[in-house]
């Protein structure tokens, strides 16, 4: 974990191709299973990258390595030019800059919606409580659950909980947002309300890594689609290219299965 793997020199601040997240030759094993194999992936500032692939392909693991909820065995990951620290205070500081939204929401069950969104600000950023609450309420309004601020997570629907989770991550003013299958645990009628919030975020220029099965979202919001299978990145392309003209057999096979009906 010594080499900083930014290969291209970061350009000026206006450069749209300025790399923000760089994974270089990342490998990870779960026991005998080689879940991430030689992953090279560069995500530019403001880019929306959607990671798709069959289950077990390693896409969630890939997403979780970016803020080190999963450790890696070899290779390097850097965010905004700084290599990912191994542990301790440095790692916590970096995680504060990387927002994460989980499949199962993971809102703090014993805290109100408002407290969920202020907690990180007050504990990590040391923001004064009043200021944190002000920002929290603004964010909750933005994701459309402002009137639920004083409820507990269990009193909200799945879609509302996930939107609160997005607000909680945004409250930290992250440089990049990771979405780990954010709609997979939702009832079908709630998926759109979450996707709309994510679309809005993408339009606002947030850098996003989204692991999802929502092909519609990939088509409309992604700058780039990354297709993974068996722990490898098999194909990277723009959504148009990928969905209309996939190059690899693996991707063709996958798309034929999910788009057949």
């Amino acid at each position: 974990m010594s080499a900083v793997s930014v290969t291209e020199d970061a350009g000026g601040p206006a450069d749209p191709a300025e790399p923000l997240v760089v994974l270089d030759n990342v490998n990870k094993h779960f026991g005998a299973l080689h879940v991430l194999q030689d992953i090279d992936l560069t995500i530019a500032r403001g880019e929306v990258v959607v990671v798709i692939g069959p289950s077990g392909s390693g896409k969630s693991t890939l997403c979780r390595t970016i803020n080190r909820l999963e450790t890696i065995d070899s290779g390097s990951i850097s965010i905004d030019g700084k290599p990912l620290p191994a542990e301790g205070r440095e790692l916590a500081r970096l995680r504060a800059d990387v927002g994460m939204v989980f499949q199962s929401f993971n809102l703090f069950a014993h805290k109100t919606v408002l407290q969920n969104v202020t907690l990180g600000q007050t504990k990590v950023r040391r923001t004064p409580k009043a200021e944190a609450e002000e920002r929290a309420r603004a964010l909750l309004d933005r994701v459309g659950v402002g009137n639920q601020a004083d409820k507990y997570p269990a009193q909200l629907s799945g879609g509302q909980q996930q939107r609160v989770a997005i607000a909680r991550a945004l409250a930290m003013e992250p440089k990049v947002m990771l979405f780990d299958e954010p709609t997979s645990a939702l009832d079908p009628e709630m998926i759109n309300e979450v996707l709309e919030v994510m679309q809005q975020l993408a339009r606002d220029g947030m850098t996003m890594v989204v692991v999802t099965h929502e092909m519609g979202f990939a088509r409309s919001a992604a700058n780039r689609v990354v297709f993974m299978a068996d722990g490898r990145i098999v194909e990277e392309a723009t959504p148009d290219q990928f969905f209309s003209n996939p190059r690899s057999d693996r991707a063709k096979d996958f798309l034929s299965k999910i788009l057949a009906h």
Partner: protein, 225 residues
């Protein structure tokens, strides 16, 4: 028949008051120390985990009588530890008994709490870490509050056991209920069943409300998921 209860020779209320004091002080000590031990047992530092595990397994499996007698004969008589200031032998023994009871009961608090920690979903801690909280912040703000809420009922059992375990302090001469009972059994042998009944009743008066109140509290604070 209840004449002897009025006798100025026996301070029944005073004895039970000391039982209550023993319970409260060692209960607080056990809660604090038990929480720290539980933190050690789930910490990422191997040395801490090893200490927590060793402490719990040694102390929990040692008879309480041995621990209490050790505080008096070992800590006080041999090592001269009086736990702060002089005071007469009675208050020294009281403090030693609190130490022994707290050290012993903390192991049960720790294990109850650890089972509570296991009921808190892994995702809760992950979400907190993802926000940038450190180990202690995650433990203190997210995991422990939820763990405590789920173990109020088992902790009530620990507290009830502690209340009754304070009788062991009689072994080092702390003038709580059991010591008075022993004295009364010797002096009032004609009313021995009554003596037993009085003390059994006294303990039920202390422990039954504990169980009821904490049982109610446990439902009240349960975290809805």
């Amino acid at each position: 028949m209840f004449d002897f209860l009025d006798s100025p020779q026996y301070n029944l209320l005073g004895a039970f008051w000391l039982t209550v004091q023993l319970t409260v002080f060692s209960g607080i000590g056990a809660l604090v120390w038990g929480t720290i031990l539980a933190g050690m047992r789930v910490s990422p530092v191997p040395v801490m985990r090893a200490f927590g595990t060793a402490y719990v397994n040694v102390v929990r499996n040692t008879p309480l009588t041995l621990i209490i007698v050790f505080t008096s004969l070992g800590l006080y008589n041999s090592l001269g530890i009086t736990l702060g200031g002089g005071g007469d032998i009675e208050s020294i023994n009281f403090r030693l008994a609190v130490l022994g009871l707290a050290a012993y009961t903390a192991t049960f608090v720790c294990e109850a709490l650890r089972s509570g920690i296991n009921t808190v979903g892994l995702g809760q801690a992950e979400a907190a870490r993802a926000l940038g909280l450190g180990f202690f912040q995650v433990l203190w703000s997210i995991v422990l509050p939820q763990a405590f809420r789920s173990v109020v009922a088992p902790l009530a059992s620990v507290l009830i056991a502690l209340t009754k375990n304070t009788t062991v302090a009689a072994a080092i001469g702390v003038a709580e209920a059991a010591l008075l009972m022993k004295e009364m059994i010797e002096n009032e042998s004609d009313a021995i069943l009554l003596v037993f009944a009085v003390f059994a009743f006294g303990f039920i008066v202390l422990t039954l409300p504990t169980g009821l109140v904490l049982g109610w509290l446990s439902k009240r604070v349960a975290v809805k998921r």
